[in-house]
Symmetry: C2
Subunit: 208 residues, 2 copies
Amino acid sequence: MRRALVIEDQDLMRQALIVELKDSLGDCIIAGAQTYALAQSALADEMFDVVLIDPGLPGFDPTSSDQRLRVVEAIVRAAPSAVHIVITGSDNDKEAAACRELGVAAYLGKTGLPRGGLGKVLEQVARDEFSLRYSSANAQATEVHISGLTPRESRITELMMQRRPGERRKDVFVKMAEELRIEPNSAERYFKQARAKLLKYGRLPRGL
Amino acid sequence: MRRALVIEDQDLMRQALIVELKDSLGDCIIAGAQTYALAQSALADEMFDVVLIDPGLPGFDPTSSDQRLRVVEAIVRAAPSAVHIVITGSDNDKEAAACRELGVAAYLGKTGLPRGGLGKVLEQVARDEFSLRYSSANAQATEVHISGLTPRESRITELMMQRRPGERRKDVFVKMAEELRIEPNSAERYFKQARAKLLKYGRLPRGL
DNA sequence: GTTCATAGGGATGGTGCCATCCCCCTCAAA
DNA sequence: TTTGAGGGGGATGGCACCATCCCTATGAAC
């Protein structure tokens, strides 16, 4: 059972990263630290296999690349055997190179890193590659989330609304089926169920 | 059924904010926009009751308070009847005051805003109060998340590990019972179940 | 010697989601 | 006229989690 530590001051983001890690690691114990002090005490208390670091922590000047790197360096030294992943909202290539020098295994921008993205990064790292992903605003469309729909229903609705012209519904069912490893028939069933719910509440977005 | 729009470039954070909003609003439809352009087209297409804005968007200089405020102003103008909430990682009192001038209903720092925090903010806003919460690193301890535990089991384990000396287990059961509106007996049952699982896998953190 | 917190469970009913298989109907294209 | 995409469902079994109630046993406190 692997142990991981997530160092990130923004609570919702830390929560999200912990969930991402949990989904990627399988059996694991994940600690979350909001501050540098809490991270230090966690690192002193226990061993970790994976450490996720956002260097923009309270008490450090976010515009000082020097301070940011010193935080990373201190964390890496405190757990030299762990896999270290730096994730930041203000990424740049100089910092990426410097982190790599410090022994960091992956350097990630927060923008453009979707659900499941961390899993792919960990796979890359497991192959001893340095994983580098700069922020990029890559969204093609707005997402939509509708309460009352189950996750499956929500997902197929989203996929269906993003369908490009000429693409048949059946193609979308196949796409979702591959994504979730289920039968296209099931995807179709979720879509029908979702549409029925939306019709009932008179909330049918375009794209039916 | 209310409609909300979340404008935030970091995908995981946007996701988390959408979940927060969904939990707070009940029946609702929530759109998520990664960029200013996507936000604009969403605002042009539909009406929204609530708009959540992170002014630090790609394409704008994050150090320029002028640019940040112009983003907020444009969004507010595009949906004058909506409740606008600004949430940012780099909050300061000048920007808060300026946002209030622009008609924003709440100004929140990302650090120190926990799960459920947005719900309280919305309650405040519903009472026509201006909700102001600056970032603060307020965590007392590291959180712990263990895979294989259900949410209930995870929560009671976390509460139990944060128990202060002298506090009895029973007190913690009551605390969790109030939090989730269940019987203390049930909380105790979850704790026992969690401990049994942890013992089975030899992963008993201190605090039993 | 009784009370109470704690340890360590068993059993139960309910609910929601998942995944699948089935049915019927319509309409257009080949 | 047969085939295939699509609309609109019903029924089912399995599973995980939730919430509750029940039982035994230990050990310290009063």
